[in-house]
């Protein structure tokens, strides 16, 4: 890993996840699009929904860490330095943000027809 080429990263992730990679990218792209569309349509942030989404996000963050521990046959208790704390924060943060955005979006679009 002497040079960091984004295409190499893509190849590696494809090898790692197989078809799951495309599903993940699809979820990320569609989820983000639906989230932004929802924001623009509502032109406001529903704070009640946001709090619930953030609570779900906490669970998502923990799940991301558990998943990581499982696939790496180790755990965040093995952290030995700043780079490790950064990785833990990153994995937790991505799990939290991803889940929160998805839950907020799903709740928003589901409640709209009723409202």
């Amino acid at each position: 890993m002497k040079e960091l080429d984004p295409l190499v990263f893509l190849a590696v992730f494809q090898e790692m996840l197989g078809p799951l990679l495309w599903l993940m990218i699809l979820v990320i792209v569609v989820g983000t699009a639906a989230f932004i569309a929802l924001l623009l349509k509502e032109r406001t942030i529903n704070s009640r929904r946001l709090v619930r989404a953030e609570l779900a996000g906490l669970v998502g963050g923990v799940l991301a860490l558990v998943l990581m521990a499982k696939v790496s046959s180790s755990g965040f208790t093995d952290a030995g330095g700043p780079a490790d704390w950064f990785l833990i924060a990153l994995v937790f943060g991505l799990g939290l943000a991803g889940t929160a955005i998805l839950v907020y979006t799903v709740m928003g679009w589901r409640s709209r027809p009723a409202a």
Binding site: L7, V12, M16, A37, L40, V71, S74, G80, G81, D84
Partner: protein, 450 residues
């Protein structure tokens, strides 16, 4: 496209709301860029050639070379020669012997990595004839070539240790992780048994060049950790026997490992090479400057001397003098991997007679350089590609932590992530890379995509 879409989006959102079409455009632009593959960049620059290229050996180096050559040449006849139908992901052997992975984790088939248009002859090369520009297979078939890439790997010379019997690996405290996936798993059973009972654990490395010189150290650390996790470290003595005066060829890494061994209570002996073994009596005899020394063991991880395969060793390709001549490593220029006496011959991977790194990471950086020089020869040009000896060793120091050590011919550390992943620090992130990212990177390399 990006810029326009983004400008339109900002513009729109400033006015009222985002209109659906520009939104989709932005998404499509993003997805499109992700779909681009390295192959598409290389496809444009293919060199037309009718050259016959023979690659002896279809392990990591041979398969990667085939993929790189196939991607850059149009019309060349590329032939891989290897008898083994299974492909082994060797960097995973330590994890199998550590009880982390099953042996199936390291086994796949050679066929699944053969690039389109490349022929595979499922035989062993019996003879190299670089003067006659041909190789001869076991069945006596002569395969002529214009260019030869030797990637046969090396031979584990268990026969050089009197008393050693590979059939016994896994029994009676005998381990040897290098032999095969099955024996790596058998080694795990023997080591786990030792971690339950305690006793004397003997670790060593051979006096020859070897593949992944970090592996003997890793396995010492892993055994120490299993003993600790089971509360049996107090019942065990761990002895590491270095073949020379260092634990690792890179001085700064040697010092770090020396400190870690001291911290973990691992006793170190220098200048000891396993000479013979008595499996029944669990007795290992080491050659030392003061004569043979015996060590009684309850568990031993035998790592045999490593040499070039006989077909290479008996050929004119090997070094003619110096320390590498006897073991038969191929005489190549260490920066281009081109043979010093036969211009149309290259050697990559373990069999190459270069100073450092018989690892998959070395292969990853050697292959593109050798291929570039080979293709430049076809085109009648000079290549500037240069291999500086880069290699890497995720040195596991306990289960869940490793040091991501990367270095080159000059013994310099060459960290990929300076300031983020410290090379001499025991980190979880380095372990995560070893267990999660390394195999996908390796497979991408076989396919010529990394």
């Amino acid at each position: 496209m990006y810029k326009d879409a983004l400008a339109k989006m900002l513009d729109d959102s400033a006015k009222t709301a985002l209109d659906r079409r520009s939104f989709l455009m932005l998404g499509a632009a993003g997805a499109g860029s992700l779909l681009l593959r390295p192959g598409s960049a290389q496809a444009a620059a293919k060199t037309k050639s009718a050259a016959r290229i023979v690659i002896a050996g279809a392990g990591a180096a041979g398969l990667a070379a085939a993929s790189y050559l196939a991607a850059r040449l149009d019309g060349a006849k590329i032939t891989l020669i290897d008898a083994r139908k299974e492909h082994f992901y060797q960097p995973g052997f330590t994890l199998v012997a550590a009880g982390i992975k099953q042996s199936s984790y390291v086994v796949s088939t050679t066929r699944e990595y053969i690039p389109g248009g490349v022929e595979l002859i499922e035989e062993r090369v019996a003879e190299f004839d670089p003067e006659g520009n041909k190789v001869v297979t076991e069945s006596g078939t002569a395969v002529p070539y214009d260019f030869l890439v030797v990637a046969t790997g090396l031979k584990l010379d268990y026969d050089a240790i009197p008393g050693m019997d590979t059939e016994q690996i896994g029994n009676n405290g005998l381990g040897s992780i290098y032999h095969s996936p099955a024996k790596a798993e058998a080694t795990w059973r023997a080591m786990s048994d030792f971690a339950d009972k305690g006793g004397v654990g003997v670790f060593l490395r051979p006096g020859t060049e070897m593949k992944c010189a970090g592996a003997p150290l890793k396995y010492t650390f892993i055994t120490d950790d299993h003993l600790r996790r089971r509360g049996n470290r107090g019942k065990a003595e761990i002895i590491y026997n270095a073949n020379n005066k260092a634990l690792f060829s890179v001085p700064i890494v040697h010092e770090k490992v020396r400190m870690l061994f001291e911290d973990r209570g691992v006793k170190v002996n220098y200048e000891r090479v396993l000479e013979s073994i008595d499996l029944g009596k669990k007795l290992a005899v080491f050659k030392t400057p003061i004569g043979p020394v015996e060590l009684q063991y309850d568990f031993i991880n035998v790592i045999p001397p490593m040499r070039a395969p006989d077909s290479v060793r008996n050929s004119p390709l090997r070094w003619q003098e110096g320390g590498w001549a006897n073991d038969g490593w191929i005489e190549v220029d260490k920066h281009s991997l081109r043979h010093k006496r036969f211009d149309n011959v290259f050697a990559v991977g373990d069999v190459a007679g270069v100073p450092k790194g018989k690892t998959a990471a070395s292969v990853k950086w050697q292959v593109p350089v050798a291929v570039d020089h080979l293709i430049a020869s076809i085109e009648g040009k000079e290549s500037k590609a240069h291999y500086g000896g880069y290699t890497s060793c995720p040195l596991i120091t306990r289960l869940g932590q490793a040091m991501l050590i990367e270095f080159d011919y000059k013994d310099n550390l060459t960290p990929s992530f300076p300031g983020v992943i410290a090379p001499l620090e025991e980190l979880w992130i380095s372990w995560v890379m070893k267990t999660m990212a390394l195999k996908p990177t390796y497979i991408s390399m076989l396919r010529g995509r990394a």
